[in-house]
Subunit: 353 residues, 2 copies
Amino acid sequence: MDIRALANHLNISIGTVSRALNNRVGVNPSTRKRVLDAAMTLGYVANQSGRSLRRGATNTIGFVIETGEPATTSGDNFFFIVVDAMNGVLAEKGYDLVILPCHSADDPVEFLQRAIARGTVDALVITATRQQDRRIALLAESGVPFVAFGRSETPGTYPWIDFDFEGVARRSVAALSEVGHRRIAVALPNTDAAFGAHFKRGYLEGLEAAGIPRDDLLVLCMESSEAGGFEFGRKIAAMQPRPTAVLISSGIATVGFYGALRNAGLHPGHDVSIVVFRENPQIRFLQPTPACFQADLPELGQALAGMVVDLLRGESATAHERSIIWPMTFLPGNSILPPPGDEAAPVSGATPH
Amino acid sequence: MDIRALANHLNISIGTVSRALNNRVGVNPSTRKRVLDAAMTLGYVANQSGRSLRRGATNTIGFVIETGEPATTSGDNFFFIVVDAMNGVLAEKGYDLVILPCHSADDPVEFLQRAIARGTVDALVITATRQQDRRIALLAESGVPFVAFGRSETPGTYPWIDFDFEGVARRSVAALSEVGHRRIAVALPNTDAAFGAHFKRGYLEGLEAAGIPRDDLLVLCMESSEAGGFEFGRKIAAMQPRPTAVLISSGIATVGFYGALRNAGLHPGHDVSIVVFRENPQIRFLQPTPACFQADLPELGQALAGMVVDLLRGESATAHERSIIWPMTFLPGNSILPPPGDEAAPVSGATPH
DNA sequence: CTCACTGCCGCAAACGTTTACGAAGGGTTA
DNA sequence: TAACCCTTCGTAAACGTTTGCGGCAGTGAG
């Protein structure tokens, strides 16, 4: 089903057919209707290769993920929720969204380079940003519009959205210190994922605000997986003196953490208070329910898509320097109690300083 | 960076450049090396639109998912593991893999129709097959090669791979009846997902093999989600007489099921024995560990990719009628005990007939 | 009646690539 | 030396689409 076949079938020229299908001016309304009807009944859809070759644009947005990383998992269909929301607003604007999976054995930078050069997408969304991320420089010099889902230390002005890791960690420490905790451990990612630094900073700020001296023995690294959480729980259970509370930067690790604590004869939430970075459907059914933070993922996806569209339409000149630290709301759960053996201690007003 | 620019830079014609880059015969080895080197240093990559327009093929495989469905979640990065493995073998054969996310508000059939007509992919992998799936007829008549991840009742010969739902359900019932269970409930999906029928058939076969009369009150439907598992657990806990064992067709629902049982004052594995369809990283850390079945997902992905390649290369004439029921291995776990109040009963040889 | 203008449409040139075909040049054989 | 083959490369035509340009009616004004 060619545009030529369609034009022959209607006894008009392919130019007119094209103009009719693309809502260009200068085509008789009745002709346009004839064309649209015929296209519908014959099932004609413009060939993408021909179109994008001529237009120099593909009307396609690429969402890059790394399928090897355990980070692609979050206990919920995290990426799919975001992608679904993006897809909704992009479709309205006439764009298609495809997910480009970078193979685990491939270098993400080379993968991106090839994706750019092949010209199958007009813009890109990159995820799983590193503290130092060469992809950003690559994208900047290539000129392909892009939005980062996650910050990076790499300099340059580009639009990004990132969770409020710092705020979450700070508020977590505050919530724990308020009920008396002073030995608060934190599980940071064991990779160079950008969020690790932010989470740590928030944790330290929280300690300082609560007047708790920093103890580097309480800053641990953890693989962002169920097994990583299990290992983290083992370590926590074995520490002397044991921390009375923990911050877990990965929701998915929480199930493993609970399991390790129970294996050690400890009760999550009672012997060790827990705050988890981000809510997910799994942990909602753990007993006790972990305190955690929640983000509006669909709205986040819409915001990402909006950034992409602004970049492509070039309407706002400052679109490339927009950035959002995504707000998160606190869900108390049942996993925060005063430290064990501290029941008699005053709950508030006791923090010196 | 054009092919013309590259040719000018080398003072040769674009035809030769193209032949050199595509490993065609009839180009001097030294010339070929010059071309490849220049392409490497200048970062030239053939424009995909031009190439696929001329070739009539895109060298791209589309993996279709539905981002709205909770089925895209399985407690692990299920799809990503499969996609990653596929990507590995497809890359070797010179194909790219992209994921095409069907928006939750869109009709999957129309989405597929557009994807086919636009011609951005040479072959498709469809997932989440329904018992009656119009996409299969659509693909068949469109002539686009495709592989289904999941069976369907829709007639026609096409290659597919599917988990051994029937065998798993049958073996689950066998494992439970062996230790004395006779009131065994099953949680089927509440959608028209194709696997529901197979799981049910295996369940019924298992009952018959064990000489247990069928009781339709024990056949329940469940949303394949954590919340669905919670609801299922609530129902089980409230039943009179209560089932002594359950089969759960969705791994992701297990966390919720455990939570509901605990809420009702019941001990998972003791008061109600449990077998889960497919293992995932989450349930591995539940206490007690659920008995479940395991599939080699990377190998499955490789098999899917192999089918796609065979279809495209057209080497084996029977490629379109190949199909695999994917084998699964049993992981006993700690969630199967004899029925409560049945400790004295003989463990085997007691099933009448 | 002439002229200008407008609305509508056809023509043909691109977009970047691949590939069939032919030409040029050197080497071999008769 | 002529005839021929082989290797290597240049030329140009496609692939399907969009779009600038020009043409052809029809209409209104002068």
